[in-house]
Subunit: 452 residues, 2 copies
Amino acid sequence: MLQTVLPDVIRESIENKNWTRLASPDIDWPEFEIVAPELADYIRDIDKTDRVLLFRALPRDLKVDIFAFLDPETSDNLLLELTDAETRHILAELEPDDRTVLLGELPGQVTQRLLTLLSPDDLKEARQLLGYPEESIGRLMTPDYVAVRPSWTVAEALDHIRRHGHESETVNTVYVTDRSGKLIDALPLRRFILAEPHETVDSIMDRTVVSISAYEDREEAVRIMQRYDRIALPVVDSGGVLLGIVTFDDVFEVAEQEATEDFHRSVAIAPLKGSYWETSAVRLFRSRIGWLSILVFVNLISSGVISAFEETLAAYVTLAFFIPLIIDTGGNAGSQSATLMIRAISTGDIHLKQWGRVFMKELLIGAAIGLSLGALGAVLGVFRGGPAIGLVVFMTMATMLVMTNLIGMLMPFVLTRIKLDPAIASGPLITSIADAVGLVIYFSYARWILGL
Amino acid sequence: MLQTVLPDVIRESIENKNWTRLASPDIDWPEFEIVAPELADYIRDIDKTDRVLLFRALPRDLKVDIFAFLDPETSDNLLLELTDAETRHILAELEPDDRTVLLGELPGQVTQRLLTLLSPDDLKEARQLLGYPEESIGRLMTPDYVAVRPSWTVAEALDHIRRHGHESETVNTVYVTDRSGKLIDALPLRRFILAEPHETVDSIMDRTVVSISAYEDREEAVRIMQRYDRIALPVVDSGGVLLGIVTFDDVFEVAEQEATEDFHRSVAIAPLKGSYWETSAVRLFRSRIGWLSILVFVNLISSGVISAFEETLAAYVTLAFFIPLIIDTGGNAGSQSATLMIRAISTGDIHLKQWGRVFMKELLIGAAIGLSLGALGAVLGVFRGGPAIGLVVFMTMATMLVMTNLIGMLMPFVLTRIKLDPAIASGPLITSIADAVGLVIYFSYARWILGL
C-alpha cells in the first residue's frame, strides 16, 4: 500500500462526504503539489455525482495541481460539470506542458471549446505547442524557464531568478542565452549559490550543454536524460534558439508508456491510448483481434506443412506426439533471442551495425541449446517410439533450435533497418514462423530416417 | 546517433591515440559531469592496452566521474591496471552511492582489496551501505545531503548550504531535521531563494514529506518518485531518522533494469546480471536453458493429449491440419491477457482486489475474440474438411479462446497472490498450458461431432 500524506481531517471529510467541512477555511492544507496525486485518485474513484462536489470543495489553486494528475477520462468528465469561469481559471494556471497534454488527450470538440477559454497569449502558446507532432519533444515542452545573460554578475542573475523564478517550472537549472536567444549554456542553480556574487555568469560557464530539438521523438529525451543524468533538458529549434525545457517527470512517464507499449506489442496487442481501466472492452477487443486474425493465416503455413506430409503422419501417427513439443520449443527459443535483441536495441545496448558479432554469439548459444534439448528430446523419443524416432527428434531439435534462435535474433535487426518497430517480431509472430520451420525440418528428417 | 559534447581537440587526441596531447594542460575541459558518459564509452570500446593510457591521460577528478559511468567488466579490468594510490583516490572521491554500486558489482576478491584502500570513515560507511539487502533502497542511498534546523533563519540556512553544499549530491532539495535527526520536512531549494532572508525555516515549512525506508524494495522508490513527481527521496530508518537520500538518476536506471528483467522473464529468460555484451555466451545459455527444459516437460502434457486421442487422429488425419492453428491461437490470446495483467499490475493500474471486475471484462473480450476467430476458423474448416470439421473448429476456437483468455488473465493474479513474480506467467508458460487445453477441447469436440 502506498503511504498517504493527507492529514486525517481531510481524508475523513472526503470519506464521510462532508463537503462543508472540507471547504472550511480552518483546514490547514499541506503543500498542494504533494497531496495532489492522492486527491486525484479520490476524484477518479468516487462516484460521478460526488465528483464535482468534492472538486468544488477544494482550494482554488489545488484544483489546478490536481488536473495535472487526472487521467483523460476523468478530466473530460469533470470538465463537463464545471462552469466556464472555473475551467478558465484551471486552464490559465496549468503549467503549459500539462495544458498541452490535457488539450491533446481530450476529444476534439472539448479541446475546441477549451481553446476559446484561453487568454490570447495562452491560446497562441497552446496552438504552437499542439502544432508539434504527437510523439515529439515539442508536445512535452514547457516555455517556462529562467534564462540569464553571460554578461550579468551572479548577484544580478540571482536577483533575476528570484523575480522570475515563481512562474518557471524548474529553477534548478538556469539557462544562459545570447542576445538572439541562442542557448549557450545550462548551469545548475547551485553553482550560482556557491559562486561569489560579484563574479560574472560568463566566468562560471563552461559552454558545454546537452540539448534536444523540438521535433525529435520523445523517446530520444529518455535516452539523453538517462545518459547524461539530467533532470531537465533545454529544447532548441534548428538554429539553436532556446524554445523551452522538458523535465524529468514528463520523460519518466514517457519511458513507462513506451515500455508498456513494447510489452503489448510483444504479444501482438496494438498500442492502447490509455490504461487498462481507461480502455473499454470494445477498444481492447479491437486492439487484439487484428494481429490474432493475421496470425491465424500465418499459422496456415504450418497447417500446409502438415498437409504436405499427411502421408508421412498417417503412416507414423506416433510422430504427432512430438508436434507440440517441437513447435513450442522452437517458438520459445526464437522468442527468447528476439526479446533479448528488441530490448537491447531499444536501450541502446546493441547497435545495428553490431549484427555480425551478435549473429556469431547467438549461433553458438543456439547450438548449445539445440544439442542440450536435442539430447533431452532423444531420450523422450527413444522411450516413446524407439531409436529411429529418438534420432529424428534429436536431429530436428538440434537443427531447428539453431535456426529459430537465429531467425529470432535477425528479425528485430531487419525490422529496425526497414524502419519498422522491432517489437512486433517477438512472441506470436516468431512463434508462428518457428512452427512452420520446425515442422518442415521434423517431417523431412522423419521421411528420410524412417525411409518413407 | 547521439550528439557528442566532447570538443574536437579531445576527440581527435583520443582517436589518434595522442596521449601526450590529451594530458597537456592547454586543453580546456568542459564540465566533467557532462563529458564523463562519452569518455566512458571510449574507454569501454578501446583495446585493453590503450585503455590505461587513455585513462591516465585524463584530469584527476574526471577519472572519478568516469567511474560512475563504467560497466562492471570495464571497471574491474581497469582497476587491475591502476596503482593502489590511483585506486584510493578514485574510491575516496566517488559519491557514496556510486561507490556502493561499484563495490557491489565487482567480484568478491576485488571488493575485499578495495575495502582495504578506503579511509576508516569511508570503510564504515561502505560496510553499512553494503549491509542493506541487494535490491533495497539502502544500496542506492547516498548519505550526502544538506539538512537544516527549523529554528534557523533562511539566511543562516543558505549560508549553511553554501558551506556544505559542495560535497552533497543534490542541493536542489533541503531537508529539515530535528535535534534527534528525525526528518520533519523536505523543501525545494528554490523556496529558500525566493523567501525573505530573515524568515525562519519553520515559517516556510509545511511538514508534509514523502519518504521511504532503507529496507524497502528499490522498485518502490520508482513508484513513489513517479507518483509524487520527486527528483530525490529522503531515506529514513524505522524511527523516521534521516539516513540519506536516493536520487532520480539511480531510480531511473532501476526502472529500466526492472523493465528489462520483466521483458526477459516474459520469454522465460532468468534475469541477467548485466547488459547483453556484459553477459558471456555461457551465462546467456544458462539463463535460457533452465526454463526451456522445464517447458519441454510441460509440453509433454500436450503430447499426452495427442497420444490419448491417437485413434481419433488416425481415423481423421485431416484433424492434424488444424493443430498448429488451434494451439497457437490459444497461446496467443492467453499471452495477450496475461501480459495486459502483468503490466497493469506492475504499473499499479490494476489492484489485486479488482480481479472480479477484470474477470468479467476479460470474459466478455474472450467471448468476442472466440466468436470472431471461431467464425474465421469455421470458414477454413468447411473449406478444408466439410461442414462437420467446420463446426468442430468453430466450437473449439470459441470455447478455447474464452478459457485461455481467462487462464492468461488469472495466472498473474494467482502468482502475485502467492508472492511469486507474475511475469513468469506470460509467453511460454501460458502458451504451453493453452496448448494442452486447446487440444483436449479440439479432440473432444471432434470425437463427439464426428461420432468417433
